[in-house]
Symmetry: C2
Subunit: 265 residues, 2 copies
Amino acid sequence: MTILRIFIFLVLFTVAIGNENLNSHVFPRPLIIEYPENNEPQYYKDDEVQLKCTSWRFAVEANNLSPWKTVPEECAHYVRQYIVGPGYNMDIDRVSDEAVAFANNVNLGADAKDVWVFDVDETLLSNLPYYADHGYGLEIFDSVEFDKWVETGMAPALGSSLKLYQEVLSLGFKVFLLTGRSERHRNVTVENLMNAGFHDWDKLILRGSDDHGKTATTYKSERRNEMVEEGFRIVGNSGDQWSDLLGSSMSNRSFKLPNPMYYIP
Amino acid sequence: MTILRIFIFLVLFTVAIGNENLNSHVFPRPLIIEYPENNEPQYYKDDEVQLKCTSWRFAVEANNLSPWKTVPEECAHYVRQYIVGPGYNMDIDRVSDEAVAFANNVNLGADAKDVWVFDVDETLLSNLPYYADHGYGLEIFDSVEFDKWVETGMAPALGSSLKLYQEVLSLGFKVFLLTGRSERHRNVTVENLMNAGFHDWDKLILRGSDDHGKTATTYKSERRNEMVEEGFRIVGNSGDQWSDLLGSSMSNRSFKLPNPMYYIP
């Protein structure tokens, strides 16, 4: 039985050593994460989805997509991660920094006719509390529900846009707010803007009864045309939609804030 | 000895079963990749650089950056990976697919006055063989060296742009090529385009002696103005630079191909 005991000891000892090697030498083995087999396709699929959704987001931001209604279902998680993660804020900060740098290099006329135009939603005010409850653009836009949110007057400021806003004001630009919100939301919009820290704008232009049915591009172009006719020079324009920026009487420089959640023609 | 044999069998059997459990149950253990300690900062730094350079690339593609001269040094690797990896091709394919879909929905006039404008470099022809030797945009643009490359006439087609090109031709669009290349490169450009598969364009417009010193935006706007004066309708416009697309006499729809390697004002 002594031989048997020694043998058992040796066998167990070898097993013990063997196990320790398994744990401590993870590294010299090839660095392959051993997912259970049925998870491997998921892993590669995630990479593929990341790539496809980044490509989709580029197409959105470069204005290459035909009117789109919702975030593609496969990109729902991607867009959510982008918005709640560091990416969205980093992009917004960069737009604001670029705009501040540009604004500081403008030689303003002595006639106080240099204008900076700002859009409101997703440019000065953030509706993320609303979109967080509506799939960050995955659900089809529901104007009735959205209006209820607007009427709470609770939209917070986009911090870096507030910084830009204050900077252009202090430089001496006229500030015109040009929003697709309806004239009937003027009071709540004023209140919301002021509570969020925006003051001293020169004009707040909302959609009047004549403007309903017009695309944002048309409505905003018409209002910019009026500014130009009144002798203003539209130097800068900040908006999260290309329909804030393109059309007639375009600004010298425009700044496109990111928005992968919705599209307004 | 029979008892001993049975015992050894049982021990080895247990060990075998035990090891199998170790392998198949990797999953309930926390999924943490065990990098050696000194690699961890690099890992996080890579993530941060990835995020910052994606943000930079968005700013480029959304036309938010003031004129920029080169790829930021910290994004050199990122841009290279984007170009040689699947991202660039995926983005280009998407632009082309969107343009094909749009072109197919246009009702062309019977007067053959509907035009699609194409830029040449990084739109129809790819200069990647040149940029591969020059850091994919990390080096300051060297027009002398680049001209030597142009004069080889060896630039390959962007495959998905060739597809779009053939599609719009077959739909009955007039095709006008509007390039920043100089008139003295007409012959080599024609030869290069034809060797790359592009045929039957209606006009190839190059910079004449009067155009030197003009920004691309001005030069291309002037040429588009002439098209409009001649009664053409500019329906589509494909280019990798915003200076191909913005200015006066803009197209109904424009398609911005990605280009994080260089910027032309």
